[in-house]
Amino acid sequence: MADFIDAFQTALGLIVTLNHDLVEILLLSLKVSLTAVVIASVLGFAIGGALAVVRFPGRGAVSAILSALMGLPPVVAGLFVYLLLSNAGPLGVLQLLYTPTAMIIAQVVLVTPIIGALTRQACEDLLEEYDEQLRSLGASPTATIVTLLWDGRYRLITAVLAGFGRAIAEVGAVMIVGGNIDHVTRTMTTAIALETSKGNIALALALGLVLLTIAFAVNAALVSVQRLAKRLAYA
């Protein structure tokens, strides 16, 4: 117990003094996950919007697969991107394995289905209500998608936040393609895993506290976005 209290105090110390290693790891984590979420949002909005509006053969199957991929285990996403980027893989020449870029790609693979499937659902719900009005106004498919994305903006924001929460907290994908290399690809989650197994509880605990704070903040943002949308009758 005394050990634990000790470690906890050291952990708080690391946070309060903005320990260099801790900040470096935090910034890399944020950079990787935020970049991945931005890319996944662009992809997810486009895919989800198109799936809601454009009729084509196999559309139902694609939607079902996208929804199923929401639950893609991070290690599987990591493995998939590893195979793609490894020397023997199709993108091996790019020499991206064990770089932050590889981690971003893995998280894009992980998060795009989440944002894409939630976007499709949001757009489909809106389209049910808007379809005849938009057709009456002569909206093209592209204009319809843009209209639905904008009118679903509050639900899209929550989708993006959900995607970010998933990305920042996952360990499997970044571990496999990043390799947890000190000062290069060490993120909060991989560092927690490593430092805990090395017995360096203080740093792990400090990172854990930071991660927890981020998770709470994301959740608080989710709740306030939903509340705002309801108040404006935009939900």
């Binding site: 209500e129 808007y130 005849e132 009005q133 938009l134 057709r135 009456s136 106004l137 002569g138 909206a139 204009a143 209209t147 904008w150 009118d151 404006l232 009758a233 935009y234």
Partner: protein
């Protein structure tokens, strides 16, 4: 509120002639094994207000959707000045639905969005938005989220949005059903004004007084059939059909 002394002149003139007559030939629409529209033969050649009346479930809303091209007939066809409905004709039509459909945006943005879809940009767009909000008496609500408006205000916004498109054919599905009497009268003035500017108005209403004030000709629909089509004067003074007579007397027609 609506400003009763607001000037009712619209913007711009119509250069293209109306696509009249509208000919319905054995028009049929089936859903779930039921003939919702049952072989309607009808010629509308009035360039003024045509009113469609009939009991609930008669098929009035479905008929408007067919005319506007939102749904395709199961059989039969509709000809506009001798040709079938095409995208160019549809672009010159506008419709106000029975249930207001408003985007999750401000009142002004709802009008602006519709104009944008018709390719209207820049100063003309802002001018038409302002004009539409004035017609709807919603200037103070320009920045209000459209969906927090009252039911009547939403109906007025939908009508103003449709008018801002300057269609040459305007379909209205019970546009005053949730308006107070004064607002309803103002809407009627807007419609008469629209008709004077050369817009062909096709209006569904249950309000006999309104129909009498606006109609040039009246179509009476029952069970998906047009059982009567007359000019307004003879329709209201001397309805030919027993069901029509009962309906106008306020009796139940089944």
């Amino acid at each position: 509120m609506l400003d009763p002394v607001a000037k009712l002149q619209g913007i711009g003139g119509r250069t293209v002639g109306l696509p009249l007559p509208i000919e319905l030939k054995r028009l049929t629409f089936e859903r779930g094994g039921k003939r919702v529209i049952d072989g309607i033969d009808l010629v509308i050649d009035s360039n003024r207000v045509t009113v469609i009346m009939g009991p609930n479930g008669a098929g009035k809303s479905v008929l408007l959707r067919l005319l506007h091209g939102l749904i395709a007939p199961t059989a039969g066809r509709i000809m506009w000045a001798g040709r079938p409905l095409d995208p160019a004709l549809t672009r010159r039509q506008a419709m106000v639905f029975q249930r207001p459909v408003l985007l999750r945006r401000s009142v002004a943005a709802n009008v602006s969005h519709a104009l944008g879809l018709r390719g209207i940009k820049g100063p003309e767009r802002s001018q038409r938005v302002a004009e539409a909000l004035r017609l709807a008496g919603l200037e103070e609500h320009a920045a209000t989220p459209a969906r927090v408006l009252s039911g009547g205000e939403q109906q007025r916004l939908c009508l103003a949005r449709a008018l801002s498109l300057e269609p040459n054919v305007l379909f209205l599905d019970e546009p005053t059903s949730s308006l107070d009497p004064a607002s309803a009268l103002l809407i009627e003035r807007l419609l008469l004004d629209a008709q004077r500017r050369g817009i062909k108005v096709i209006l569904v209403t249950h309000d006999v007084g309104q129909a009498q004030r606006l109609a040039d000709d009246v179509v009476f629909l029952m069970h998906g059939r047009a059982i009567e089509h007359q000019n307004a004067e003879s329709f209201f003074t001397n309805p030919l059909n027993e069901s029509t007579r009962a309906y106008l007397r306020g009796g139940l027609v089944l």
